[in-house]
Symmetry: C2
Subunit: 248 residues, 2 copies
């Protein structure tokens, strides 16, 4: 145990990423108060001083401290604690460490960023560039229009020249999406002093309740799938070497 604590202190001092498995008990105080009884967990202290407590299952950390926290291992009354605080966020965490099973550390070198294709932004780009997926004669006017009440994905004109707001959702559109659309339509009508602004949701599917609300408000749902890389790959005949190197 003592050797492992030495190891951790040394690695913290040298700003390495540290990972250790431990039997521990976690108390967190900050935006909420949380307590996690004794059990085996994997703890990661990252090089930006983020701390993650991971249980053996599950996607998310069960407890965590955000970047720039300060960590210190102390011994009190025969107990070992890893005490972390983040004064800026008013976050405090105390980990009672009963046992350390293994520990490792390393100085990881990585400045890369992930390149992603298929986001909602890509979807609105696709719609703006291919307005016929919305309706025949539809014409895009502006994209990502900033209003005080939010971003309008695509603003356009239908074939009767009605100003039309399009809200895109990468997945199933829900009540929130309809109300987002409603907010934009009302905002445009009031700011421009006009009436009859149309609203469209472009998404693969929509929930039944949301569809009903769409009808209540005279909006229209259009089924559109988000573009994915594979589709782009097929279209552009990119080869594997180019994969990922050209976002958009």
């Amino acid at each position: 145990m003592e050797n492992k604590i030495e190891f951790i202190n040394y690695a913290m001092k040298h700003n390495e990423i540290i990972v250790f498995s431990t039997e521990c008990e976690v108390t967190y105080s900050g935006r909420v108060e949380a307590f996690l009884p004794l059990g085996d967990r994997l703890i990661v202290i990252k090089q930006d001083k983020t701390l993650l407590v991971h249980q053996p299952i599950g996607n998310n950390p069960i407890n965590y401290m955000r970047a720039n926290s300060v960590h210190r291992i102390t011994k009190e009354d025969g107990n070992t604690y890893l005490r972390s605080k983040n004064v800026e966020n008013k976050d405090f965490m105390d980990i009672l460490i009963k046992k350390i099973h293994f520990v490792n550390s390393q100085d990881l070198k990585d400045g890369q960023k992930v390149q992603i294709v298929g986001s909602e932004k890509d979807m609105s780009d696709m719609i703006y560039e291919n307005p016929q997926v919305i309706a025949k004669g539809f014409k895009g006017v502006s994209r990502e229009e900033q209003t005080k009440y939010g971003f309008i994905d695509v603003l356009g004109l239908d074939k009767e020249k009605n100003l039309t707001v399009i809200e895109c959702k990468r997945y199933k559109a829900d009540l929130g999406a309809v109300q987002q659309l409603r907010r934009y339509v009302e905002k445009i009508e009031s700011s421009k002093g006009i009436k009859g602004v149309k609203g469209i949701i472009a998404a693969p599917t929509i929930t039944a309740n949301a569809e009903k609300m769409m009808e209540d408000w005279g909006f229209k749902f259009v089924s559109v799938k988000a573009p994915k890389y594979q589709e782009r790959f097929d279209k552009s005949q990119m080869n594997l070497e180019n994969f990922g190197l050209t976002k958009k």
Copy 2:
């Protein structure tokens, strides 16, 4: 490298949690297409076959596969790949492993759940039990009304006996919160065939735009703080044992 791959395969077979640091390149194909160029990362394979790829900084994994994925290490043309798939989710990940720096594994035993105080639920409980924090003469009628009108935090009567919907936010209330409230008020009015249902947002603060929208719709904002554990502790004189805290 070969020894470490052996180690990983053995640990996977025995369903242990595995953590290793590696120089790698990640390709993900699923809900989006993603590519992460070569760099040093920490990879965790959990006992439910969740896979996390963590960069040396940042709270969240840069790439991941969800539980019940299938992982396999292969050698192809002299390159080592960790290939993961989750057929149910149509997720695929390929990690080109250039080097493994360290690796550890263990069978972690942990069935504990985190206990949290200070959530929005606690806040609506507090309001229901102490309606005077909303207004003098305010009376709660129902809490967490989930079936009829959606998830209404608190439904009550003001001192003029007006039916009132209260929407709680633990943090700063935004436009979405106002529209959520608006939706509930409209639903109640239409389903009960009445008018004049009042709407209140209870939150510590509210954004300027949201406050303006509140005024437009005749709603009222009341500043209420979410209860935190320490406050409960002080009020109820609970002792640490009662709350499951064996150590401070």
